[in-house]
Subunit: 429 residues, 2 copies
């Protein structure tokens, strides 16, 4: 972790930069995969699974038997933990439902909005070194609460030809009926275009490697909705002199172990904390199973000391972290001043890990500074608002003349006439 | 307008298709413009304005004197109309504010969301044949209501070297301070990258030609937020035997005059209506100033008869129109069954034109079938929700064991330890 003391604002642009990864070379490879799925559907999926996952599978859809096996493979303790997490996630997201209010903007002119579920959504859950069944919970629970009719899930198979049991358990537990054994860019293409086995969806959610990310971007350019632009995961810990250095180190490491491309940032108003946390990191990292990954992530990470709390907060807002942990006895006051972040963890007993799994907030969050303009996944991500308006005779008479005046000024005569023809018919009757 | 009688579902995929426009050739040209702005900033903007708008300008930012001149150029009648429209838009969008509720998902685990304005937003308003000052209202009013700190607007100059007076009036009236004389892809690039004169923004709103659309897409691939994927404007009128054919024709024409690439769709459960509307269109189009544009748009438009109302509604939901006008005495019941549309106009006295200008709903809406997954612009489009969570000692004790169990199952030991270190410290104390 590189350290900086009181960097001036002129250096912030450099300091908030994330590690860059070249992805242009992926473009051709991913376009090729998308094209194959669009052209050959299921057949291409079988071929690509053999090619990339080195496994031959007979069917794409997970069978009842496979679900049953997964159910049996999960320990009662883990089941109970998943149930508790799911209950919290459900509670937090249920509260996001909002009833429509009808507004009479002028006498006889009523307008309202109605949230309607996106009828078909697709969820991608990566396999690999950490099977993210927690992400399955974070995406399938709000999808179900929103009322999406078709919720499908794709995840790659392991060497056994099967999807990780905990992912299958989570999907079934939250009510997803169709799960498909497909990974990578081909899974994104299958959900975007539809194949013989896999239904076409209108919006695609979920994290993934660079192939998946590129496929989501390319499909998004074709008009398929996606949850968020992607980037590696990150945390910023804002710590003052009251912070507990061993807690801070543990939080930084819990982010660093995610992947080599993760970035962890320590911003502190106390130089001793900067030093103590580094010592603690060295102590704690020694026995971590994913030590090598965490060490790589720490290489592109930063520890920054500011001599004023306001500068530290300003810097955090400029960085716009996916996760922000405020480790301070003044955490509540600091949290009030946060304007750019995905999710904020307030105080000594709120590690990022609780939000990653079970507190109830969603862990699908904007990375890479996108928190300046994007929010994390919520119930709303699975719905769209339709606006409605209804005018009475009185309504069109009240508003019509203004509309005519504006349409004329914009040179749109047919717009004006659509109003005039109605006003004339009312005057005649 | 091509007509179809009772088309079977197997033909719907073809019938919901929008006119296709090839935009691949734009890619290189627009990338070149983006690159020039990123490299040379203001200087490139002056050069491109000379090259594309055939005008030499001395300064990019609109001066107080130019605002004053615009103010004087607008008639009192139009000012009054804009005031009325603005008041309705403000009323409808103000109601979209939602207070945060704090949820205790488990004893000692509190979570909440807070809507925070996107601090810097940019709005693009095209010039050209129809100066869309109404779009300026639709985008600047919610931006101001949301509390965005920096709201900038770019619009191209005409032959006079000035921006349309009504656009300037609307911008000033709704409280936009900085307006810049820049159009096209270069305006999008300037707002995305920032230049010496034009501040960098985090989200870009507004319609435009194919260059603008392409620039927004390319910037969106670089992580700048945009309002919506773009496509030509469209309307679908759902009419039964109680519809008024001359109203329907007027509504179809008011959409057709927008542009040659507009699409208008008539879906009816009555064959006579299909014929009467076509006769009415011929009558009304004859005297339209934008007749040539409307005629071109009608060439790619469709009139479809269904012998059941349910099929007509299903078709409309499959088309997912930007604007849906329900012209029927049963309009309320039909509206209840709409699941895919941008904005819905209910009944005989609710032409699209009222929503385009003044009813209060937003007219920046999803086109091209995107209404299946996207909503139109709203107050929320100018904010992002940050989630917060705070755990007490009791909270981490309640939730910690579940988090540990799940982290272990995902193979993320450092996540587990971030919880364990806190539980241990509580047990010790």
């Amino acid at each position: 972790m590189k350290t900086y003391l009181n960097p001036g604002k002129e250096n912030w642009k450099e300091l908030v930069k994330r590690p860059q990864f070249e992805s242009e070379f992926l473009d051709g490879a991913v376009r090729n995969i998308l094209g194959r799925i669009q052209k050959s559907g299921d057949q291409a999926l079988f071929e690509l699974t053999k090619q990339y996952d080195k496994v031959e599978i007979n069917s794409l859809q997970v069978s009842e038997q496979e679900f049953d096996e997964a159910q049996k493979a999960i320990s009662p303790g883990l089941k109970r933990a998943i149930e508790i997490a799911a209950a919290n996630i459900e509670k937090f997201h249920t509260d996001q439902k909002r009833a429509a209010t009808v507004i009479e903007t002028m006498p006889g002119v009523t307008c309202w909005r109605k949230a309607i579920p996106i009828s078909k959504v697709g969820i991608y859950i990566p396999g690999g070194s950490a099977p993210l069944f927690s992400t399955a919970l974070m995406l399938t629970i709000p999808a179900r609460l929103a009322g999406c009719k078709e919720i499908i899930l794709c995840s790659p198979v392991g060497a056994s030809g099967k999807i990780n049991a905990a992912i299958l358990f989570a999907a079934r537990f939250t009510g997803v009926s169709k799960v498909f054994k497909v990974g990578g860019a081909q899974a994104i293409a299958a959900m975007a275009y539809g194949t013989e086995s896999i239904p076409q969806v209108y919006k695609i959610f979920g994290p993934g490697n660079q192939f998946v990310t590129k496929a989501k971007q390319l499909m998004s350019n074709e008009g398929v909705a996606i949850d968020l632009p992607a980037g590696p995961s990150e945390v910023l810990v804002l710590a003052d002199e009251t912070a507990n250095p061993s807690f801070v180190a543990a939080d930084l490491l819990s982010q660093a172990e995610h992947g080599e491309d993760s970035q962890v940032m320590l911003v502190t108003t106390n130089e001793k904390v900067l030093n103590h946390v580094q010592t603690e990191i060295q102590k704690q990292i020694a026995t971590l199973p994913r030590k090598a990954i965490a060490e790589r992530a720490l290489q592109s990470s930063r520890g920054i000391y500011f001599n004023s709390l306001d500068s530290a907060i300003d810097f955090s807002n400029e960085y716009a972290p996916e996760h922000l942990i405020i480790n301070s006895t003044q955490a509540d006051e600091v949290a009030e001043k946060i304007v750019n972040a995905g999710s904020v963890f307030i105080g000594n007993y709120s590690p990022e890990a609780v939000g990653d799994y079970a507190s109830g907030t969603n862990h699908t969050l904007p990375t890479n500074g996108y928190a300046k303009a994007f929010a994390g996944v919520s119930l709303e991500s699975f719905t769209k608002q339709i606006t409605f308006q209804k005018l009475t005779e009185q309504g069109i008479q009240n508003i019509g003349p203004s509309v005519e005046m504006m349409a004329e000024a914009e040179g749109l005569e047919a717009h004006k006439r659509a109003v005039r023809i109605r006003l004339n018919s009312i005057q005649k009757s």
